[in-house]
Amino acid sequence: MVPPPQRFPPELKSPLQISAAQSYGGPARPQESPPRVQEKARRPSPGHGPRGPIKAAMFSEVSAPREGSSSLLLCRPGSEDPEPSVFDRVQPAYSPCAERFKLGERSFNRQYAHIYATRLMQMSPLLTERAQQKWGADVRVRKLCDLQMGEQCCIVGTLFKHMELQPSILKEISEEHNLLPQPPRTKYISESDELILEDELQRIKLEGNIDVEKFVTGSVIAIYGAEKNDGKFTVEDFCTADLPPQTPRTTLSSDRFVLLLSGLGLGGSHADSMLALQLLVDMVTGQLGDQGEQSGAATISRVLLAGNLLSQSTQDKDASTKAKYLTKKTQAGTVDAMRLLDEMLMQLVASVPVDVMPGQYDPTNYTLPQQPLHHCMFPLSSTYPTLQLASNPHQATLDGVRILGTSGQNVKDIQKYSSMDSHLEILENTLRLRHLAPTAPDTLGCYPFYLKDPFILEECPHVYFSGNAPSYQAKRITGADGQEVLLVAIPEFSSTQTACLVNLRTLECEPIRFSSFSAGDDEESEMNISH
């Protein structure tokens, strides 16, 4: 049994707390819905919203302040409710699909050609089928070695984008060029980029009706056109593998929410978001607001932290370059930051199941798939069974809703090597290409797989997210076979103080923003739920 953390002075014990710890292994408590409170506070009628009678789908509606609630909030406790009201948190059926991205033995004695070969082996039957669906069943699908001049046909292969500005280690160390290392840029594209299609044996340059700046190296596509005189292939049309098949999700009876959060940036020099983070923790554990808001917070069934839990400034590069005797006594920046994270997580896991994914600046391996953070770094919170340490591309099923996503490294890499800027657009693009990270292993670090490429999407998720976006974006898309996917670009919490709430019943997402004011203002910090 876990004692709920005391946040108020003892004489003003908060009577309303959400405790999920009791439902995990403690003695079974009967469902306690405070009868007195229900009579008093009139629940908002399941809505006559602007679109007519709708069920409360938005979190803000579920936890809307009730009439007369202000008096409830500030009244003295104890006289009306003899027992503290505890809202039991909803518990969805959770099953992680962890084996896909876990690495067992790690052998780096392999070249990366194997990933590309398996990628093509896995995707070419799918693409052949799509090509036949799009351009007719009698379209000729040829290998590059069997191409004939002027013949309209379809070819399937991996794209390679030749970019002049792409940093090349060979150019850097070549003595005849006498070049200094190139400074890092935001985008490495230029007008002179060329697209080349490679299949198992040959490669051919592409020109024509294809937008060079939208594609990145490593995407597998099918192209329809003809080879012209000069040895280049003229593209008339192309198609991607598009969305994979989706198992339909079960309809839920009540609203259940998942809180998506990323980019906490703990241990950084700016502590602006610490108060907002504490507000978030308090809101989720039900220690903020009146009963309406607390019962609303009880519908948050899971919290998912999508990467960059530590700030970039904890990655101390000087320690690796300085002499050992200078750095012996200094502690790494990550030690204090991890302690902060552990303490924050302990508050959360006492009340709600949490999935923790590592990100770019977190202490785990650099290459994708990033392995889960080790539980020895969480001495306080790893004693709770509700803490789930997950890998970087993370996949899980919550009540029949498949959730898949990354901490954002794949999206940022594609952003550098293509003309797309919006994280959501890139996310949709990767879904249509049916591949989580097409630029791996070319520009994104990746483990040398040989058996299968685990980044190929075999089943369509219902919620597809990527973390550490500069701003919040969400969209619902529909596939050709009726698949429905909610795309979410989770904003970075350290700069935007915004988290996302996904309703598992309706697949809608809304942002939740915790704004706090600096010490100079007289107003107290407030929490506003805006959408």
């Binding site: 392999r110 194997h114 896995q122 039957p125 198992e200 040989y450 299968k452």
Partner: protein
């Protein structure tokens, strides 16, 4: 009168040639004294012919004997090498032949079952398990 003598001393391949070399040098000197160059030419031709004969001498036994038949092991290794070089199953370096076979089977490329049987029967022999390029660095 100044005479320039070019003396060619070769590393002797066998005793006869050594003898001939000395003869060459000696006859060169004698030719200059005698004035007949055909003496030295004769010697060279003779030594060449003798060399050819000597070279040809061991060759007839080779032509007569048949090429050694490939043993069963050699045939199997040859088949495995052909499996390595087959482009349909992807790159062969860095992974064992059995792993490559399993990968091909997983992706539905139908690799021949005999290869798998061969690999499983000789799983301790590195010539069987490792690919053609396993001696070379990554």
């Amino acid at each position: 009168m100044i005479t320039y003598k070019l003396i060619i001393r070769q590393k002797p391949k066998c005793k006869d040639i050594e003898h001939n070399c000395d003869q060459v040098s000696r006859s060169a000197m004698t030719a200059k004294r005698a004035g007949l160059i055909t003496d030295s030419y004769k010697v060279v031709k003779r030594s060449r012919r003798e060399e050819k004969r000597e070279k040809r001498a061991p060759s007839p036994p080779q032509k007569d004997a048949e090429p050694r038949p490939l043993t069963a092991r050699d045939k199997e290794l040859q088949e495995l090498r052909q499996f390595d070089l087959d482009w349909r199953y992807g790159p062969c370096t860095g992974i064992s032949r059995l792993q490559r076979w399993e990968r091909a089977a997983l992706h539905g490329l139908n690799p021949p079952q005999e290869i798998r049987d061969m690999l499983l029967s000789a799983d301790t022999d590195p010539d069987y398990t490792h690919c053609l390029w396993s001696d070379y660095p990554l």
